[in-house]
């Protein structure tokens, strides 16, 4: 198990390096003159040259990359080209917002998908058809469209929940919960739908397994057979899908944050992308991938805990 986790950790590290390098190269290959963009059309050529030197853009690409990578390894992701604010600071400010809505969304998705998937697999008939149909709709509709509908109806029209803004958990837990409810729900829909279908499918397969018949032959109650044995066996594949959904959730958060006016990592990345602020964009990409790797590692541990074959070998 430890060797397995170590391998996954190493793979995660490689992933971060590959993505960071690719992103760096992509952002360096743009034809636009960043220094000119920062200073504006009216700036003198010498000022532009000076700015370019200040940002290190007159250095060769390889040198710039080493410079960035060296600092990044020490935990310093540089500063914004436009505002001069350290990227680390921007990330520290925005990360809690994004993590709040994404993790809350994951939690909702996990609970709902197990409930719906189990109901569909056990009840069959119309329950199954309704869940399946809803799942198709849920996976198809982009989260930001759901967010728009929720924002306009529940927040703007009915005023039940705030339409915009974020309240830190430390400031007021109640308001924090209110501010993340709608964004988290919008994000949860697609993940719920996809995972519920996986739970359903896996549970149907497990319930057909030989050992389930043997457990029944031993006279165990349906409750024990389904909820203790079958669901436990169906959990690993469902967890794999949930891990994939997490990546989708982070992507969805970029747009959902805009809908609800949340100052999260997506908003940071978006404004950096629009301006062409490479250090900030690069920083958000790196942090995103690190989070993805971390969450996948956690899910790997959970997977091993659920699956003795992985744990003991």
């Amino acid at each position: 198990m430890l060797a397995f986790l170590f391998r996954r950790l190493a793979a995660g590290a490689v992933l971060v390096v590959v993505v960071a390098t690719t992103t760096f190269l992509l952002l360096s290959l743009t034809g636009t003159d960043v220094a000119r963009n920062i200073l504006g059309e009216t700036a003198t050529q010498s000022a532009v040259t000076a700015k370019r030197h200040e940002l290190g853009l007159d250095q060769p690409l390889v040198e710039r990359y080493w410079h960035w990578a060296e600092h990044a390894l020490q935990g310093n992701l540089g500063s914004s080209w436009f505002t001069g604010e350290p990227v680390n600071q921007s990330l520290t400010d925005t990360l809690p917002v994004t993590l709040s809505i994404v993790l809350a969304g994951m939690l909702v998705a996990a609970v709902l998908s197990v409930t719906l998937g189990t109901a569909a697999a056990l009840r069959g008939g119309w329950v199954d058809r309704v869940v399946q149909f809803a799942a198709v709709l849920g996976t198809a509709v982009p989260s930001f469209l759901i967010a728009l509908v929720l924002a306009v109806t529940l927040a703007v029209q009915l005023g039940w929940l705030p339409a915009t803004g974020y309240v830190a958990l430390g400031d007021s837990p109640g308001d924090w919960l209110r501010s993340i409810t709608l964004p988290a729900l919008s994000l949860a829909v697609a993940a719920t739908a996809a995972t519920a279908m996986q739970v359903r499918g896996a549970l149907i397969d497990v319930l057909r397994a030989d050992f389930v018949r043997t457990l029944r032959a031993r006279g165990l109650t349906t409750r024990s057979v389904v909820f203790r044995h079958a669901l436990r066996n169906a959990a690993p594949p469902a967890l794999t899908v949930l891990a994939l959904q997490f990546i989708g959730l982070i992507g969805g958060a970029v747009v959902v944050e805009k809908v609800f006016g949340l100052p999260g990592i997506g908003t940071l990345a978006n404004s950096a992308a629009v301006r062409g602020d490479a250090p900030v964009l690069l920083g958000t990409v790196v942090v995103t991938v690190v989070i993805v790797v971390a969450v996948n590692l956690l899910l790997d541990i959970a997977y091993g805990w659920l699956n003795p074959k992985v744990r003991i070998s």
């Binding site: 198709v136 198809a140 469209l145 306009v152 703007v156 964009l281």
Partner: protein, 583 residues
């Protein structure tokens, strides 16, 4: 993403299309998509406005003759933007689908067909691409390369290629496992020919489904990007319309409705269409927990001349799956402490008969009987709770395949203790002590270790001993053993039979031993019932069967066993090869 099972019936493609078109949902979806396509193609005919031209006076203009859907936040015609925006979406979705398939399909084909280093490298790259949220990659690409949405869609196609890659690779792997690809190879067909003839037809249907998903996803992501404010202002799109509408949501909420509706309907139609194709292909339906066991006629009067020590009485038992009857009027009696061998070839209905006693047949099975009683208790019409009280406690069950009959997620000790704690109301420590005793009794050298082990950590022979221990743990009066030695090594078979025989004598249990092997019958059975095509053709004491079989079929079974080979295959032309529950 739902995984798509590759179809194995290439010739049914036309039928698939017809079946899809018979689904009203699919027809509605096609109509909606057709309408969207027609609208965007005919945009110049339907409106004379330029979708990118702002007229200050038309800012948030109400609906009117010249602006059927009004004007947007900066005075552009909403209808024109909706129609031309449809073009952007449809073109974008199509680009993404084409690129995703152009990149993913050939790579998946090669990866799945040749495996090896190429498969490893491709898999590695795919994992990297799938680990980064698509929209974040798109932000970087649009910041770095181009603000053109169509260029972005090409990149998106590459990002989504892994979805296609995985599907095609999995389909190819599945087909490769089929023997006919090897056969084709032996027959001298080239790889290209094999791919075209055998693999292409199989991947087409799942690819269509996947294409609808990629299309829907791409349209959503494209709109998301435009909603974020990326993309060129000259490129009208539904996402940009949503962006404009959202900034004016307090003034003119209707502006949100049109692009939202257009986008939602297009995406849903595309997805539901894919779903309709999948339905037409046919997928797994859940088994609904509903028991259908009932009496054929009004309870037959108990036959008078029966011995008082009878444990199980089965009479007129029938099991049918739809039109197909697999057990057809079986009568059986097991006396207390007696071992009955139920013998027959695969598909003769012997396992089905055994399972009907336990009430463990699949729910599609229609079970009827004149009488089905155990130890004076009528088994027909028992509710689930009463049946559960009997299973394990009154009737024990030993399955055929040891490894697949233990729950892989739980320790053996737990699996042994659970029924004892329920039936015998033992405490945790009592159950543990008894489980260890049982393990020792069934001949396991190190009970403590096996008690702590997971099923994958022990051998098949040990697992079968564990299952036997489980079957007798709650002191049942009847044991039903379904081919208990078939899956074991020959050396272990004899030991396991000995064990069952000694346990049976020691506890005075009745036993039904389902088998195809007269060697097993000779070892331990008191009486034998021979089944063929769902009927009992001969029933007699074991000695008499061996001395002089009355039925020709029994003779044939005996002969084939004596010749050495176990009688697995059908000996006479079977009426209908029926799938056994155990197989």
């Amino acid at each position: 993403m739902t995984t798509v099972e590759p179809s194995t019936a290439p010739a049914q493609r036309d039928r698939l299309l017809r079946r899809t078109l018979r689904d009203p949902v699919a027809v509605v979806c096609l109509a909606v998509l057709g309408l969207v396509i027609a609208g965007s193609l005919a945009a110049p005919l339907l409106t004379s406005h330029d979708p990118a031209r702002s007229v200050l006076a038309d800012t948030l203009a109400p609906m009117s003759g010249s602006h059927p859907l009004g004007g947007d936040g900066v005075g552009r015609d909403v209808l024109a933007r909706l129609l031309y925006g449809g073009r952007t979406s449809l073109v974008g979705g199509t680009i993404a689908v084409l690129v995703a398939f152009a990149v993913g399909a050939p790579l998946g084909l090669v990866s799945g067909f040749y495996r090896g280093w190429f498969d490893a490298v491709a898999g590695w790259i795919v994992n990297i691409i799938m680990a980064v949220p698509a929209i974040i990659v798109m932000l970087v690409v649009m910041a770095a390369v181009s603000q053109d949405l169509n260029v972005a869609m090409i990149v998106l196609g590459v990002i989504m290629a892994p979805m296609v890659f995985r599907l095609i690779r999995a389909s190819v792997l599945a087909v490769r496992e089929e023997l006919y690809v090897d056969a084709a190879r032996v027959a001298g067909l080239g790889d290209a020919r094999i791919m075209r003839r055998h693999i292409l037809p199989v991947v087409i249907a799942p690819s269509v489904i996947q294409a609808t998903q990629v299309f829907a996803l791409a349209i959503g992501i494209q709109a998301g990007l435009a909603f974020l404010g990326l993309g060129k202002a000259s490129q009208p799109s539904w996402g940009a319309m949503l962006n404009d509408a959202f900034t004016n949501v307090y003034n003119e909420p209707m502006l949100l409705v049109w692009p939202g509706l257009a986008m939602g309907l297009t995406i849903l139609s595309s997805s539901l269409l894919g779903n309709a194709v999948r339905d037409a292909l046919g997928v797994a339906e859940p088994v609904v927990a509903k028991r259908r066991r009932h009496r054929a006629k009004a309870a037959g009067a108990p036959v008078a001349d029966l011995p008082a020590d009878r444990l199980l009485t089965v009479s007129g038992l029938c099991v049918a799956y739809g039109e197909k009857t697999v057990v057809d009027g079986v009568d059986l009696i097991v006396a207390r402490g007696e071992v009955l061998g139920l013998v027959g070839e695969s598909g003769s209905g012997k396992s089905q008969t055994a399972f009907s006693v336990l009430g463990l047949l699949p729910d599609q099975a229609e079970v009827t009987a004149d009488q089905l009683s155990f130890d004076g208790k009528d088994l027909l019409g028992l509710d689930l709770a009463d049946l559960n009280a009997l299973r394990g406690r009154g009737i024990g069950y030993i399955p055929q395949e040891p490894m697949s009959n233990l729950d892989p997620c739980f320790r053996i000790g737990f699996q042994l203790a659970e029924p004892m704690r329920k039936h015998l109301r033992l405490s945790r420590t009592e159950a543990r002590t008894k489980a260890l005793e049982l393990l020792a009794r069934v001949g396991i050298a190190d009970p403590e270790r096996v008690f702590r082990s997971y099923p994958h950590q022990i051998s098949g022979g040990m697992a079968q001993r564990v299952l036997i221990a489980g079957a007798v743990s709650c002191d049942p009066r009847l044991l039903i053993a379904d081919e208990p030695t078939t899956a074991l090594d020959v050396t272990v078979q004899a030991e396991v039979l000995d064990l069952m025989r000694s346990l049976q004598r020691e506890r005075g249990m009745g036993m039904i031993l389902v088998t195809h092997d007269f060697g097993v019958v000779a070892d331990i059975c008191d009486r034998v019932a021979v089944m063929q095509r769902g009927r009992i053709v001969e029933a007699a004491p074991a000695a008499r069967i061996f001395a002089g079989p009355a039925h020709e079929y029994t003779r044939m079974l005996l002969d084939s066993t004596l010749e050495g080979g176990p009688a697995r295959g059908p000996l006479v032309t079977p009426a209908e090869p029926v799938k056994e529950v155990t197989s």
